[in-house]
Structure formats: structure tokens, C-alpha cells
Symmetry: C2
Subunit: 572 residues, 2 copies
């Protein structure tokens, strides 16, 4: 039962589900549904897919997450960054708007689901930890810029293609002469209105006496108002006949039962994008879920989240949808609207299903420019310039990884960007550990504590040299250790003992062990004693498994103070 | 002048070169020449090249090293592992024994020279540090097995091709029926004789009253005796007519002036092999040079060695040779024979030049089986089973890297093997650092030193929890840190303070900084104080550059003892 409960978290909350829970969940579901319908259409457009695909991706996946997910408030569905990644991946194997393109998107969702489930089964969730915060932050910022740029053509009412920022800009510059004035007016008005509702409507409503929570929800419904007004304008003034592009016919009805392609060649082409979509989606989703769970002192189980997101993506594929993940904006709305259990997500699914069946004719005259405006306003909030500045100030290495991610996303593409960022951050970490910081230390007066002679006023003894090496000793820095010790013992005729202080040595690998043997040998032939201090338990265990200690003529001291005083240094 | 001296180390020793130095160098050169001539022919055969190419590779490169090298005893030339790598790389782009194959080998030497010089200019010598000892040791052991297996066909006098161990074994099994009895007798006799001289001749000569050094040198001349006797046997008994394969005509004369191919397509194909040959050659050469330099308290300059090896390889290419590096066996002979300066290498070059011009007709009737025997005996001494056992006992991670290197070399090839080994050892290091060891620590009685409560008898205080994290905090382990702290503070109602003891934290990157902020926030809302102790200088400098300290409500203690006593723990 415990196993089943951990596999199906629904069994944890369903038995105690109450009428109050149901009320809260229903209210949240209505609000999220209203927000999700236009967003789903917009993100499907961003992914280069027919609008109804966005709706399909917002139904079954929510049910699947409600069954398997551990977060009480996470709302899954299409999100901006994953939609962009889907467009990039599907665009590499099929022409936009073709049947093969749709098949590629569905197959991507299926593969992504398989990858997530496999990661769960193999407990590979830790792989997401290798996406550092600066890389993720840079990736999302750059994706936001790229997405916003890709939507400008809809605001202008022109045709312009491109996958990278230079291509997009070139396309816009070349095509700008053919802009449609009606589209442009609608696009600019919608964008301005949406920015205004997002920034100013809530304070205004509060000033007018509304309760903050209600004001917030009304402000978040801004897109709905923009959509209704623009549909009325298109119908009333016959703008479609004047060149304003509209969404057009959306087939009404239940999501279809769909099957992904089982063409192995296609799978091979889509596997790497699917892995990247899975990782990015997982990181985004888990971050959101953990933030919300912490507010209510709940916990989410990352490995179970992999299963839940995997199931959601497989459900999306089987109902004609495309890759989904837990979205930030909708989850926060769901949480703020009072969702108590994942059943809120299931209710939302029912709401979107109803919209898919009954409301699609309404959206026929919706201008694409308004959808583009909702996307632009949503993604520009993802652009985090302050994070770039903060990272620059804190660490140049982190900044380098972030900058390379941003530039590669903008100039080459999303997949290349995240790959370059991850590889560079790993290489930089390895590079840093390969040139460890080393300090000569002395006794802080009045204590038994030893610190860097260059930073603190400490007591030393000319016959004892204590070097603290601030890194695990492994193959990449073993030679650096040898060189550093030989350099530091040169020209010290009074030297009788060298102590290697090891509180920061968490590992001594076979290469470093050989270096330690070489150092011991060399110091011994120079008549200088070589000792270790503060060697940690796990490292000591490893040394005992080798024959190092049999040959080692020096001593291994529990504490550096013991080493210092035993070897003749002044006591405190 | 200092700059010139560091670029041309010859300027350091040439001005003080004495008559005694010259005598020592001349004696060493004669001995090394005698050893090198048959070895050069053998390694050229191993590389799939005409025998004279081995001689060409042993002339100009030695002069180049004498000018640029910093080791006084290193002898450069063809070596077994690099010959095997040359065969693998050239075999991928051209048919064996074709003119294109020779061009590929020459181009490989040229490219390898360029790579080495570029590494020197860009100060990339540290890259060699990423080849861990277990990976190098496994690579050399596996290469030795592969080389020995590849030579068995010459001992049997059959044709059998193959690049991997299974292919070689299959080829031998299929072809064994056609073995040549004369060849087999010569091959087995030569192998047995060479093993005997290597193991038993020196002790025997010493027992007969010879001085150890002389005995050693006579024993090392074993191959020369085997070669002379086998040539006499072939000529005397007309064995060449009975199917014993001989070396055949070797063109006498000066090395030709050669140019590498400048076909960019070929360069592209050979670049990765050239990089791997450069790295492996550099590591082998520097290890030998450092070992020998340490014995005479001299120092070698790794970066200058890159220049010297680069110049040697370019010299090899321009004189019709193939990739060279500093060899272990010949350098030790050079050192033992008393070489005082790199001029010994230049004298050796003159000796080999003389052999190339005058002695090549002598080797016409040399059986290939004897060359194969010298190779087998030389490379089997590279196989180090004890190192495998030692590594297994010491560290399973190091062993895994070694085992994967060995298996991949044997089953796939040399280049794949070294690449797999390097990547796996890096991945394993990252994996280890991503799951850091953490310990709850307490005060060792009578000291100010804190150790793991599970390993030592220590004093703790129920209101203070001190966690020592044994790793730099970076993106790959930031979440692990959060989880570990949350897990450890659960169910501790008496807890008032958590101290993170940081002596092993050499780096806090931007991701980990966010985790620390999250931990501080969470503990603060649970009414628990959060403090740091023993934060190192460079880490503290970085924290000061962020706004972490402005929000941080806890204290940062210089020593853990200060933290413990200040927060109310019992003093020593």
C-alpha cells in the first residue's frame, strides 16, 4: 500500500477529500480554465501547430498529473519555452503546417514522456541538477527574447521566417514594408492593454476598494477581455476582409485518439530534443512545484514528479497534443485561486474539454495579432536582466556559462544553447578544481585554529611549513599539488617538517595517491618530514585500503593543532 | 636573454659544455644507437610503414629535441604505443602499404607537431592532467596486449589482419593452419632468447664477476645479438627461399626532404588522432623526463617540453618520418649509459644517420619474426597487472575508468579507448562531487577540534546542530545540500541553531548561493538560527560581492569552536 501510495499520490488525498476542498478546487478550476484557453491557442501558434492542438494538450495531461503528481497546485499544459523547443525540433524534420510536422510534435511528446518515465525508473532525476541556475536563467531569458521576436511578425501582419535572432530581425526588416495597418493597430493596442493590466490594473482596482485577491484575479483575466473585444472588432468592422489574419476554423469536438510515429529514424532524430525538452520541462516544473509546496509546508517528491510529467506527456501524445510541463504562470494562478488538491487540475481539464467542444466557433474571428500580444507580454516577464547583473557581480565563471547560453540560444538555437551552457559550466567547474587554491597557514593566537598567513595575523614556526590545499586531490590537480609543494619548500633551509592540512580534501584518487607518494619520497630524500593533518574519515578509509600507509614515514594527526605542537611549534 | 634561454634551453648548457661531458655523451650515444636501430625498424613495421621510416624518425627529431628540450636524458623517437596509434589513424584513411598511407603518417607527425606547439603557445599543457593515472596505465596495458597480439602473425609466418583483439584472434585462428615452420622456430627462439636476456642475463653476468652497469648494458644489447644470429641463419640456410619473410631491401641514404599533405579534408580526418597522439605522447614523455630529472635533482619545464616535442614531430614529418615522442626504454638506457646533456641525443642522431647510410644492406635478410619478437618482449613489459589489482583495491571509481579504457582499447580501438577513459573519469568525478559526504560533527574533548559524531567520541549540544559538508557547493550538489539539511533538522524540537561548517567548501557558485538563501529563509521561518563557520578567504570574498550577507541574519564564525561556544555549547 505504501508503494502504491508513492506511485499513485492520488491515493494519499482522495480518501479524505471534503466538500470544502471541492469548492476551493472548483473555483480555482474555473479561473484557470478562463486563463488557459487563450494561452493554449497562443502557445500552439508559437509551436507552429493548429490552435486546437494547444487545447488537446491541456486536457488529458491534467488528468494524468492529478493521478500521479505530488504537487497540490501545479498546473501542467503547454508552456512558452517548451513550445519554442517543440517548434525548433519539429522544424528540423518536417515543413511547418504539414501533417508530418504535427506527427513530429506528437511523437516528441510521446518520446519526452518515455524519457521522463525512464529517468524516474532509473532514478536519474539528479541529472537535472547539472543544469545550473545561471544556465537555466540565461536559457529562459534568451528564449523569452527569441519568442517575443518571433511574434512581432504577427503584430505587423507580415510573413517572416527564422529560427535565430539575426534571421528573425532580417526577416522583419525585409518584410516591414508590407505591414497591415489594421493588424498593427490591433496588435499594438492589445500589447499595450495587456502590459497595462499586468502592471497597473491591480493597484488601480485595490485603490477603488476591491479586495487584493479579487483585484489580482481580475487583472489576470486581462487577456480574456482583449480577446473578446478584438473578436467583436473583427466581426463588427469586417477586418478579416481587410487583411487581418484570424485564427480561422477550429475543429470542435473531443480530442482525437492519436498515435505517435513509430519510425525509428524519426525517433533517432527527435531523441536528443526530447531529452532536452524533458530536462528543461522537469527543471521548470519542479522549481515551481517546490516554491508553491514550501509556502504551504508541503513536500514534493522529485522522482515521482518525473513519473507524473512522463504520464502527462504520454497522455498528451495519445490525445493529439504536444509536449507539456508544469507552467509557472498558471500554477501560481491555480495556487492563488485556492486549489487544494490536484483535483483542481482535473476540473480544469473538464472546463477546457467543454471549451473545446462548445466554444471553438467563438475563436474563429480572433486575430492572430492578439494571440501574439499575449505571448509577447507573457514571455517578456521571463526576461531577467537583474539576474544577469547579479551573476556578473558574483562570479565570472557563472556569468560566462550564462552569457554563452544566452548568446548561443539567440544566435544558434535553443538546443545548442542549453547544451553549450551545461558543457561550459561543467568544464569551468573542472577547470577550477584543476587549479586548487592553496594557503600556507599559521595558528590564530589564543585559539587552536589555523588560517592563511596572508589573510590573518597568525603564529608560525620556521621549521614547520603547513600547506592547506583547498580541493579534493584528483588526477586533474595532482601535478599542481606536486609543483606547489616543491615550489614552496625551495630556499627554506630551516625547514624540518611539511604538514599537508586536509580538511578540504574530500577525496584522494589513485593519481593523487601516486603524487603524495612522490612528494613523500622527495621530501624524505631532502631530509624533511612529511605529515598529514585533519584527514577525514572517508579519505582515511580509502588510504587504509592502499599500501600508502605502510611506506608512509610521516604521521597523520587528528587536528592541525596537534600536528603543530607535536612537531615543536609554539602552543597557544 | 632569459626569454631566449627559456625558449632554447640549449643556450643554458652549451656555453659550459666540457670535454668530460662530451665523453659521457658519446659513450651513451653509441649504446643508444645500437639499441635504437633494430627498435626503429621494428616500430616502423608495427606502424605499417617501410622500415627506413623508423630510422628517419630517429634522426632529425633527436636534433630538434636537443635544441628545444629541457630534459638532459630524454631520448625521442618512435615508440610502441604511438606507432600503434599511427597505424590505427593512417589505416582509417588509406590502404596499408600504399603511398597515401605513408603520406598520412607523415601528415600525422606534422599535425601532431602543430598541435603540440599550439598547446605550448596557448599554455594548454595542463590538459594532459585530465588523463588520470589509471586511464594511462590501463591504456598502456591494453595497447601492449593489442600490440603483442598483432605481432603473433609474424611469429607464425601467416597473414592475419585486424585492429581489435577479437579480430586479431579470429585472424590468427583462421590462418594458423598455414604457419611456416622455419619462421615459427626463428620467432619462438628469438622471443625466448630475448625474454631470457631481459630477465636472466644480467644476474648471470654479475655472478660471473662483471660490474653491474656493464652487465646491464650487455643484457640490453640482446636484440642486437638476436638480429645478427638470425641474419646469419637466414643467409646460411637460404631460409628466405623457404618462406621466411625478411625485411628486404631498405633504401640506403640520407632521409628525404618530405612535405606533409595539405589536403584540408585529410587534416580534418587526422586532427582528432593527432590530438590524442600528442596528449598520449606528451604524458609518456613528461613522465619519463620527470622521473629521470628527479634522480639528478634537475627540473623539466612541461610547457617547454610541448615546444620540444612539437619541434621533434615537425622535424620528423619534414624528413619523411612519423610521430615520435620521448620513449621510456631508450631514455633509461641513455640515462644509465651516462648521458649528461641533450647533445647525447644529437650524437645518437649522427649514429643512426650513419647506420641509415651505410648499414641498411645488412638488414636485408633480417627475418620479420625477429623484429616481431623484439616488439612482443618490449610491449609485454608494459602490461601492468599489479596496477590493475592495486587500483581495484584502492578505488572502484578509478578501477571503473581503467577497466573501461582497457576493454574499449581491446574491443574497439586505441582512440575510442582513451576517449572513453577520459570521459568516464570526468563523469565519475562530477558524479562524486554531486553527492557530497556530509557529517554531523561534535567537539573532540580536550581540544577545539570538531569531528564526525559517528566516527569519534565527541561532545554535542541538543540545541546546536553542526553539519560539515565535505564538498564545494555548486550547481550539481546544491539541491542535495538543501535536502540533507531539511532531512536532518526534522524532529529536533530542542534545536535552536544550525551551523554549516565550511572548511571543505572551496567554492560557492551562484546556484548554491540561492540554495543557501533558501535554507536561511526556511530555517528562519521555523525559528531556527542559521550560521556559517570556517568560511575560507576566497569564498568569503565572493559572498561579499553578492547581497547574501545583507539578508543573512545568522553569524559567520572564524572557527567552529567559536561558533559552538558562542551559541551556548559547552567549552573544552
Amino acid at each position: 500500500m505504501t508503494f502504491l501510495k508513492s506511485l499513485l499520490p492520488i491515493l494519499g488525498w482522495a480518501p479524505t477529500y471534503s466538500r470544502t476542498d471541492a469548492q476551493s478546487d472548483l473555483v480555482a478550476a474555473v479561473i484557470v480554465t478562463i486563463m488557459l484557453v487563450p494561452q493554449s491557442l497562443a502557445y500552439a501558434m508559437l509551436a507552429g501547430l493548429p490552435p486546437q492542438v494547444g487545447l488537446y494538450a491541456s486536457i488529458l495531461p491534467l488528468i494524468a498529473y492529478a493521478v500521479f503528481g505530488t504537487s497540490r497546485a501545479l498546473a501542467v499544459g503547454p508552456v512558452a519555452v517548451v513550445s519554442l523547443m517543440t517548434a525548433a525540433a519539429a522544424g528540423q524534420v518536417a515543413a511547418p503546417a504539414s501533417a508530418e510536422y504535427l506527427t513530429a510534435a506528437i511523437t516528441l511528446a510521446f518520446l519526452s514522456g518515455l524519457v521522463l518515465v525512464a529517468m524516474s525508473v532509473l532514478r536519474l532525476g539528479f541529472l537535472a541538477n547539472f543544469l545550473s541556475h545561471p544556465v537555466i536563467s540565461g536559457f529562459i531569458t534568451a528564449s523569452g527574447i527569441l519568442i517575443a521576436a518571433s511574434q512581432l511578425k504577427h503584430i505587423l501582419g507580415i510573413r517572416a521566417e527564422g529560427d535565430t535572432l539575426p534571421q528573425l530581425v532580417t526577416g522583419l526588416v525585409e518584410g516591414i514594408g508590407g505591414f497591415n495597418p489594421y493588424t498593427l493597430v490591433i496588435g499594438i493596442a492589445a500589447t499595450a492593454f495587456l502590459f497595462w493590466t499586468r502592471k497597473n490594473l491591480k493597484p488601480l482596482l485595490i485603490a477603488r476598494g476591491l479586495r487584493p485577491r479579487l483585484a489580482d484575479l481580475i487583472a489576470k483575466a486581462g487577456p480574456v477581455a482583449a480577446i473578446l473585444v478584438s473578436i467583436l472588432a473583427v466581426v463588427g468592422f469586417g477586418l478579416a476582409e481587410r487583411g487581418v489574419k484570424i485564427v480561422g476554423d477550429i475543429p470542435a469536438g473531443l480530442p482525437p485518439f492519436a498515435l505517435p510515429s513509430f519510425d525509428l529514424g524519426l525517433w533517432q532524430q527527435l531523441l536528443l530534443p526530447a531529452v532536452l525538452i524533458s530536462l528543461v520541462g522537469f527543471v521548470e516544473s519542479v522549481s515551481v512545484a517546490q516554491t508553491l509546496a514550501a509556502k504551504r509546508r508541503q513536500r514534493i517528491v522529485p522522482n515521482q514528479e518525473l513519473t507524473a510529467l512522463g504520464a502527462s506527456n504520454i497522455a498528451s501524445a495519445l490525445s493529439g497534443g504536444y509536449p507539456v510541463t508544469g507552467g509557472f504562470a498558471r500554477s501560481v494562478v491555480n495556487f492563488d485561486a485556492g486549489a487544494e488538491t490536484p483535483l483542481a487540475g482535473a476540473f480544469t481539464a473538464v472546463g477546457i474539454l467543454a471549451a473545446t467542444v462548445f466554444l471553438t466557433p467563438l475563436f474563429r474571428f480572433l486575430p492572430q495579432a492578439v494571440l501574439a500580444a499575449t505571448i509577447i507580454v507573457a514571455v517578456l516577464s521571463l526576461v531577467d536582466i537583474a539576474a544577469i547583473r547579479r551573476t556578473w557581480a558574483y562570479s565570472k565563471a557563472d556569468f560566462a556559462a550564462m552569457a554563452v547560453t544566452i548568446l548561443t540560444v539567440l544566435l544558434v538555437g535553443v538546443e545548442a544553447g542549453i547544451t553549450a551552457g551545461v558543457l561550459l559550466s561543467l568544464v569551468l567547474f573542472l577547470w577550477r578544481t584543476s587549479r586548487p587554491h592553496m594557503a600556507i597557514v599559521g595558528l590564530v593566537p589564543g585559539t587552536e585554529h589555523f588560517r592563511n598567513v596572508e589573510r590573518h595575523k597568525v603564529v608560525t614556526d620556521p621549521s614547520i611549513l603547513t600547506i592547506r590545499v583547498d580541493e579534493s586531490l584528483y588526477f586533474a590537480n595532482a601535478r599542481a599539488l606536486e609543483d606547489a609543494i616543491y615550489d614552496r619548500i625551495a630556499d627554506q633551509p630551516a625547514l624540518k617538517h611539511v604538514v599537508l592540512m586536509c580538511p578540504a580534501v574530500n577525496l584522494i584518487d589513485a593519481s593523487a595517491l601516486e603524487s603524495l607518494e612522490a612528494i613523500a619520497h622527495r621530501l624524505s630524500s631532502a631530509g624533511v618530514g612529511f605529515h598529514l593533518s585533519e584527514v577525514k574519515g572517508p579519505v582515511m578509509d580509502a588510504l587504509k585500503r592502499s599500501d600508502f600507509l605502510q611506506h608512509f614515514k610521516g604521521r597523520i594527526f587528528l587536528s592541525q593543532y596537534e600536528a603543530f605542537t607535536t612537531l615543536g611549534g609554539p602552543a597557544r
